[in-house]
Every structure is written in structure tokens, then in C-alpha cells.
């Protein structure tokens, strides 16, 4: 009689699975050995109990624990504990096993620093401006899209790249880290003034000082231990009534904007471009929710293999939905839920994907708070597309692979957007011919 509530737990699991790549790290200090030991045990046993692959990818998790546990005695502060735990998790060689030490239990748990409003794209040793936020310090300083960054605080891009060259990482991951590093530093952190040196196209090199403002971008609501993130949403109409939409996280705070945009598009747009470049992911339920606004029939977006079971991600057609062509843009910084969304709609034939291969980090995860005060993100399943393609380590391969050249970045040519628009035109022509 009292076995009625099983439905609730599955809803909780589906709703709170989160896949995103963490943004930044700062250190705190704690020196309680007991808390450290408990934290170690919690991390080790959580992996032991929840990892979907009982072979741990051919690794002996028991032995790994036995190797790292004695080193706990040498962890004198929280920094060293975090390094130890992260090193142990790195043995799994999987994404979404992370210790987040920048979490603190205040209402606003995102480490807010400075903001210049610049977004940089790193391509083969060079960094170009791809976005300047309106009204931002960068715009006031006169920095334009297409400029190439020479150095920040006199540290050259070349020297930064060199420091990463020593790390044993795949090139794609290395490029992602370099781009993330640059985009963090260019915001200013806690400094009052940033010196930057630039190569504007067809001009002499320029030295520009920027005064970062406090980061006042909207914060997503934290959900349980799920940390807040600075969120961005942008929508505008391009030529031929094409809706262009960009957002940087899959978080519930953005769902009403996204839904309203697509519902409006269902009445007036000829196509939708969803720009997920640099989108680091978020709640997986957002991917199914947004898909439901784009599909005309229930659409399988992929399968999550759990330790003892599996779950299918399915988008259900909603009352107001958009039925025209959809293009999804991705790049090497599109991760997690972005990848799931892009791959699922791509395989279902509902969207055409443009850009560069995605990061390949797509293991749905949950968060636990450790006794040390740090957060532990742990994967609970392995995501595959409906046809069985594994995104982790492989990434989503676009239908049209488009790697921007230096010239295109300098000339502010947004190749994936241009190609997506041309594809949509071809679609309409084909539709007209067919009718």
C-alpha cells in the first residue's frame, strides 16, 4: 500500500542531471584532517557506488583509492586536498569528475570578479575578439570584433600557449583550456586596470588599458548544490526573417526567454539559428524541453546508461512549436548539454549542425557537498546518441565542418552563420520546387 512514491525519485533524477564544464577555480583554506578524510571517502565511495561501468574503463578503482589514500596525510590545507582528490579522479580519464573549490555557502555562490565584455576565440596560436558586449568597458575602450590579441598584462599569447604545451592533453582539450583561460583573464578578475596589446586589422599595433566593471550579468539560480552561473541570452532577427538565438548555459532561468522566442518564431520566422558556440552545458532537462519546441513528433535525443538501468532523453512536441529549418552552431567550446542537444537533433534529422567539432565532454552528473566545504561533481551515466554514437571524448561532428581562417576572423566573417543562412535559402528553394 505504501509503495506509491517511486515516480517522484525518477522525476528528481531526470530534472537535476546536469552536464556542464566548470568555469573557474579559486582556492579556500581548511585544515581539518577529519573533514579531509571524510571528503576522501565520500569521493571514492560515490564513484564506486554510482559509476555506470563496473570495470571503470579497465581501471582498478580499488587500487587507485589505495594509492591515493596514504597521500591524504600530506594534504596540509584545502588546496592540497583538492589537488589530491582531483588527481585521483583524473585517473578515470573522464569528464564531469571534478572538485569545485570556488563554492561557498552564501546566497550568491558564484565567484564574481571583473567584467570587460569581451569574448575571445582561440585558433591555432592566435586569439581574436568575436564579441564585444554593448556598453561594456571593452566597447568604451574602442576594441572591435576581429582584433587580434597580442598580450594581456604584457604576457604574450605565445607564452601562454607555451605553458600549455607541456600539459599531456589532446589538442582539442588544450585549445579549450587556453581559450577559457584567456576569456577569464581578459575579464580582469580583481584588478582595476588591464593592459592589453592588440593587432587591429590593417592598423599598427595598439596598447589599450581597460577598466573592468563589476560583473553585473544575471546569475542563474543555484539549485541545491548546483552552483549559479553568469548567464547570457541574445536573440535578433537576421535577413529573411531568420531568428538568431544564443545562450551560454542551459539553465531554468533562461527557459522562459527561449520558449517565448521560439513560440514567437513559430508565427513569424522562416528559420532558427541556435548558436551554442561556447555554451558549456547545464541541466539536461533543458535540452529535452527546448527540443519539444522544435519537433513535430516525440523525438529521441539519446540514451543514458546508468549503473543499473538506463534512461532515454525524449523531446515531446509542445503546443506552440517551430516547424521550419533549424541550424545549430557549435565549436570546440560547446560542451555537455550543448552536445547532447546538437547531436540528438542532428541524428533525428531535425537540425543541421554547423561549425567545429564539439569538446566531447558529455557525461550527465550530479553535485555533492563535501565535508571539506568543496563541491564534488560526479558523472552518473554515459550518454550515447540514439544510434549509439558516444559523445564523450569524440564530440559532435557538424554536418558542415567550418573552421574559421585568420582572415575570416579579422574580417568579422561569421562563417557558420553565413553558411547556415545559405543552407536555409536552399531549403526553401527545394521546398518550393517540391511544391
Amino acid at each position: 500500500m505504501y509503495r506509491k512514491f517511486k515516480y517522484c525519485t525518477r522525476t528528481a533524477l531526470l530534472s537535476f542531471l546536469y552536464i556542464a564544464v566548470s568555469q573557474s577555480v579559486s582556492w579556500g583554506y581548511l585544515s581539518r584532517q577529519e573533514a579531509f578524510a571524510q571528503s576522501f571517502d565520500m569521493v571514492w565511495s560515490t564513484v564506486q557506488e554510482s559509476h555506470w561501468d563496473e570495470t571503470f574503463g579497465g581501471r582498478d578503482w580499488e587500487a587507485i583509492g589505495n594509492t591515493y589514500r596514504p597521500r591524504l596525510k600530506k594534504a596540509r590545507d584545502r588546496t592540497q586536498l583538492v589537488v589530491l582528490l582531483q588527481s585521483m579522479l583524473n585517473e578515470l580519464e573522464l569528464s564531469h569528475y571534478r572538485i569545485l573549490s570556488n563554492y561557498n555557502e552564501v546566497e550568491d555562490n558564484y565567484p564574481r570578479g571583473g567584467y570587460t565584455g569581451l569574448e575571445l576565440k582561440y585558433v591555432e596560436g592566435r586569439a581574436y575578439v568575436v564579441r564585444v558586449a554593448p556598453g561594456s568597458p571593452a566597447e568604451e575602450a574602442g576594441i572591435k570584433v576581429g582584433w587580434r590579441l597580442k598580450s594581456i598584462h604584457r604576457r604574450s599569447i605565445k607564452s601562454l600557449v607555451k605553458s600549455y604545451s607541456r600539459k599531456q592533453l589532446p589538442d582539442k582539450i588544450k585549445s579549450f583550456y587556453i581559450q577559457r583561460h584567456l576569456n577569464e583573464v581578459i575579464q580582469g578578475g580583481t584588478v582595476k586596470r588591464i593592459r592589453t596589446d592588440w593587432y587591429p586589422p590593417e592598423k599598427r599595433a595598439l596598447k589599450i588599458y581597460m577598466m573592468p566593471t563589476a560583473d553585473s550579468r544575471q546569475l542563474s539560480d543555484s539549485v541545491g548544490h548546483l552552483p549559479s552561473q553568469c548567464i547570457e541570452f541574445e536573440q535578433r532577427y537576421l535577413e529573411n526573417d531568420i531568428l538568431y538565438m544564443r545562450f551560454n548555459y542551459f539553465v531554468p532561468n533562461l527557459m522562459s526567454d527561449i520558449r517565448a522566442s521560439i513560440e514567437q518564431a513559430s508565427e513569424q520566422a522562416q528559420g532558427i539559428i541556435i548558436d551554442l558556440r561556447s555554451n558549456l552545458g547545464g541541466l539536461t532537462v533543458m535540452a529535452t524541453g527546448i527540443s519539444g519546441l522544435l519537433v513535430d513528433e516525440p523525438t529521441n535525443l539519446g540514451k543514458l546508461n546508468l549503473k543499473k538501468g538506463h534512461m532515454t532523453y525524449q523531446g515531446y512536441p509542445q503546443r506552440k512549436r517551430f516547424s521550419g529549418p533549424v541550424a545549430v552552431l557549435i565549436d570546440g567550446s560547446s560542451a555537455s548539454t550543448s552536445e547532447m542537444f546538437a547531436a540528438g537533433l542532428q541524428e533525428a534529422g531535425r537540425a543541421r549542425v554547423f561549425g567545429e567539432s564539439s569538446l566531447g565532454q558529455s557525461l550527465p552528473s550530479l553535485f555533492k557537498k563535501l565535508p571539506s566545504g568543496d563541491l564534488f561533481q560526479y558523472a552518473v551515466g554515459d550518454y550515447h546518441t540514439p544510434e549509439g554514437y558516444r559523445i564523450e571524448k569524440n564530440g559532435v561532428v557538424p554536418d558542415e565542418v567550418l573552421v574559421p581562417s585568420f582572415d575570416q576572423l579579422e574580417q568579422r566573417v561569421d562563417l557558420p552563420v553565413t553558411e547556415a543562412l545559405q543552407w536555409m535559402e536552399r531549403q526553401w528553394m527545394e521546398d518550393e520546387d517540391a511544391s
Binding site: Y7, A12, T312
Partner: protein, 242 residues
């Protein structure tokens, strides 16, 4: 004692521990309010469930940030409203599970519900000596039920439906039994699934109060959605509302 007799005695003990056959036969509806805590995730989710025998169920969970997630079964169709994922019909396995939930006399007829019930080895769980029954249904799905010496169900391991073409193994444990109008039930239920633990505390339980039927009606969109979801003829539900 033969195995079959032992099984029968355990099933009888289970019914008696809930208040007895006569009492269970009189129950036509149950309403529950509770709090679901996912301690490790830092989440606290108020929930409510209304069950009307033989075939109606409504569940609401008030999720932080998202808002209310609701699902209902109106007798033959099930439906979910999710503030993020949107609306969807429940699939056949989910509806089957809800129909089991709505059958408030199910524990009186377990022999009819399963193709076999046999004794399993006794186990000590959380220092409690338990006896075990292994239930197998017609589809071959197996459930493991562990009983305390007084007949209370203490643990159950089974496969739960997790949405369309989805299922995972879950363990439930039952604690803090109390009696309400002759019906004994646990105030606390712990859930362990492949990803985390959750704990439900029942704050209020009401038996045999008339339940407003609006909880069980389906939205008008259900009709269109059902057509989109499958090609077979759609059976119109008795009541719809926008």
C-alpha cells in the same frame, strides 16, 4: 512448513501489519503530503499525492527554481506537466505502474499480480533480521521484498520505470511506522537509485476523503499529443480541460 505455506504466512503477516484485510478493503482513497529530501544534492522538494481507487493518481512535486511538476492518471491515460520539459503523455509502463499504485487492494491479491512468489534467503539489513520474498511477474521482472519479523515490509528492490523506454533499479526502505485510523504506514521512506539517495517524510496522510476530480483530468492538448505520439487510433478520454 512447506515453502508455499511460509510464503502464504508472510503475505498474510504483511497484510496484518498494515491493519488487516478488513481494514484495507475499506480504503478507497489516500492523500499524502510530504517532503522529499535529496540531502547529498542539497534539495528539499515538497510533494503531494492523491490516489483514488481503482485507477486514479495525481502527484505534485514543487521543485526549487523550476516550480511544480505534476502528473496524473485519469483511469486510462497518464500525463505529465514539467515546467521545463513541457507536457507529455506517460508511456505504457509508467501508466502500468500508476495503475498498480491506484489499486489500493493490491496487497490483498499479490498472488494474482505475480506469476511466482518464492522464499529468498534471510538477510540482515541495518542490523535488522529480515526474511525475503522474491516476486516474478509475467514479463519476467523480478522484485525482492524483505520483511521484518512483525510483518512490516522493510526493503524492496525493484526496477522502476523512468520515462519512455527507461528503467533503473531502485531500493526502497521503510521506517517509522505509525497507525492512522487503523492503517499502519511508514512515515519515512528512503530511496536508493544508481545516482543518489532520497528520503521522503510523510507529513500528513488522509484516508477516504472525497478527492476533487479536477486533479485527474487531462489537458485538451492530450488529444493532439496522443495522436502525435502514436499511429494507432486514439481513445478519447472521458474528461479534458485546458
Amino acid at each position: 512448513m512447506e515453502e508455499d505455506e511460509k510464503v502464504e504466512a508472510m503475505l498474510q503477516g504483511y497484510v496484518n501489519s498494515q491493519g488487516g484485510r478488513e481494514r484495507l478493503l475499506t480504503i478507497t482513497s489516500i492523500e499524502v503530503d510530504g517532503i522529499m529530501k535529496l540531502e547529498s544534492q542539497g534539495l528539499r522538494i515538497p510533494m503531494a499525492q492523491k490516489v483514488q481507487a481503482p485507477d486514479k493518481v495525481y502527484t505534485m512535486q514543487d521543485f526549487p527554481v523550476f516550480g511544480e511538476i505534476r502528473n496524473s492518471l485519469n483511469g486510462n491515460q497518464g500525463w505529465e506537466w514539467h515546467p521545463i520539459a513541457g507536457e507529455r503523455p506517460l508511456d505504457y509502463t509508467e501508466v502500468d505502474e500508476l495503475l498498480d499504485d491506484a489499486n489500493l487492494q493490491r496487497d490483498l491479491n499479490l498472488r494474482d499480480e505475480y506469476s511466482s512468489i518464492r522464499l529468498g534467503p534471510p538477510e540482515i539489513i541495518e542490523d535488522i533480521q529480515t526474511t525475503q520474498l522474491i516476486f516474478t511477474d509475467e514479463a519476467g521482472k523480478v522484485e525482492y521484498w524483505y520483511f521484518k519479523s512483525n510483518g512490516d515490509l522493510f526493503q524492496k528492490i525493484h526496477i522502476v520505470s523512468a520515462g519512455p523506454e527507461s528503467e533503473f533499479e531502485a531500493t526502497e526502505r521503510y521506517y517509522d511506522f505509525e497507525e492512522e485510523e487503523g492503517f499502519r504506514f511508514p512515515r519515512k521512506i528512503r530511496y536508493l537509485n544508481p545516482a543518489y539517495e532520497a528520503e521522503l517524510t510523510i507529513t500528513e496522510l488522509v484516508i477516504n476523503r472525497e478527492i476533487d476530480q479536477c486533479y485527474f483530468v487531462l489537458p485538451i492538448y492530450a488529444e493532439e499529443m496522443a495522436r502525435l505520439a502514436k499511429d494507432e487510433p486514439y481513445e478519447r478520454s472521458s474528461t479534458t480541460v485546458d
